[in-house]
């Protein structure tokens, strides 16, 4: 059993097709949709957690590639800039997955990219701009 968090970018021409349905029924992959959006240019963006056997997942990724869905790993998309972070903890209650946490004796904030679902809540909350996102998803 393998598990991974991925970002799917759907080009505008296939945004109305049931890609996720095909991924589940044809490849047998378990898809947990963490976040999904379609921008005004009809490009879709979906953050998912895939789980299944290695064969099923590679079959699924091949299918996505064949229909033109761009797949990138999720982990590196949000960054915690420690030199800007003051450890104030304003972001903590806004993080839905507890990817941001604080050590309550040293009051230093830590960020676990594994838990992050790239919801951007911390970007809006942080007054020091200590959370940043890579350009392609900004």
């Amino acid at each position: 059993m393998k598990q991974m968090k991925l970002v799917f970018i759907f080009p505008a021409n296939i945004v109305e097709e049931p890609v996720t349905y095909n991924l589940i029924t044809n490849c047998g992959v378990r898809v947990n949709i963490l976040r999904a959006s379609i921008d005004p240019g009809k490009q879709g963006r979906m953050v998912v957690e895939l789980s299944g056997e290695e064969v099923q997942i590679s079959q699924g990724l091949n299918y996505l590639e064949s229909v033109g869905v761009q797949v990138t790993p999720l982990a590196q998309k949000i960054q915690h800039l420690e030199d800007r972070c003051t450890g104030c903890t304003a972001c903590l209650p806004h993080c839905p997955t507890q990817a941001l946490d604080v050590d309550r004796s040293s009051w230093s904030v830590s960020f676990d990219p594994e838990k992050c679902i790239v919801c951007f809540s911390c970007l809006e909350t942080c007054i020091y701009h200590a959370m940043s996102v890579e350009e392609q998803f900004a």
């Binding site: 450890g87 209650p93 009051w107």
Partner: protein, 166 residues
């Protein structure tokens, strides 16, 4: 350097024993930006509000008598803060403004209980930087690099001298 115009201290029914029960004072400061370190002075931007400055200030408190000692020994469990409704009351004036009262100890634990619900908490001030600036000041004092000046002026509204001890 303290700026008199915008410093406000209120003494009316706010302090019980040694600590304020409601917000009791603000202090305005003047300083030379060019001599400051970006460690203690940061540009900030609040979504939906605008730009501002975040400043870490270290203020030494001389322990001149037992009253002063009691005042600085106040713990987080004794400091109270109101929980204000910003969803209905603040924008629309409906319902009640104050939905609860919690202590700083509870706030610093990471969650509080309001009307039987657990609510996560966060802070806008940094305890890490506050401690750092306090230790920096302590070091300056111990090394003889921070000296007291002559009394300049009383804090506006603050009781001073004999009056304060009554």
């Amino acid at each position: 350097m303290e700026s008199k115009q915008n410093t406000k201290i209120s003494n009316e029914n706010l302090r019980q024993q040694y600590w304020p029960q409601t917000p009791a004072g603000t202090i305005a400061l003047i300083g030379d930006l060019r001599q400051m370190s970006s460690e203690w002075l940061r540009a900030v931007s609040y979504t939906g509000y605008g730009v501002s400055l975040s400043v870490a200030v270290g203020i030494p408190i001389p322990i001149i008598d037992e009253d002063m000692l009691s005042s600085v020994c106040v713990t987080d469990a004794q400091l109270k803060a109101p929980v204000v409704d910003y969803s209905e009351f603040y924008p629309f004036g409906q319902g009640e403004a104050k939905v609860g009262e919690v202590t700083y100890k509870e706030l610093k634990s990471g969650s509080i209980h309001i009307k039987n619900q657990e609510v996560p908490t966060g802070s806008f001030s940094s305890y890490r930087l506050a401690r750092k600036v306090a230790h920096h000041l302590k070091q300056l004092i111990q090394d003889g690099g921070f000296l007291l000046t002559q009394f300049q002026a009383p804090l506006p509204g603050a009781a001073v001298g004999k009056e304060a001890t009554e």
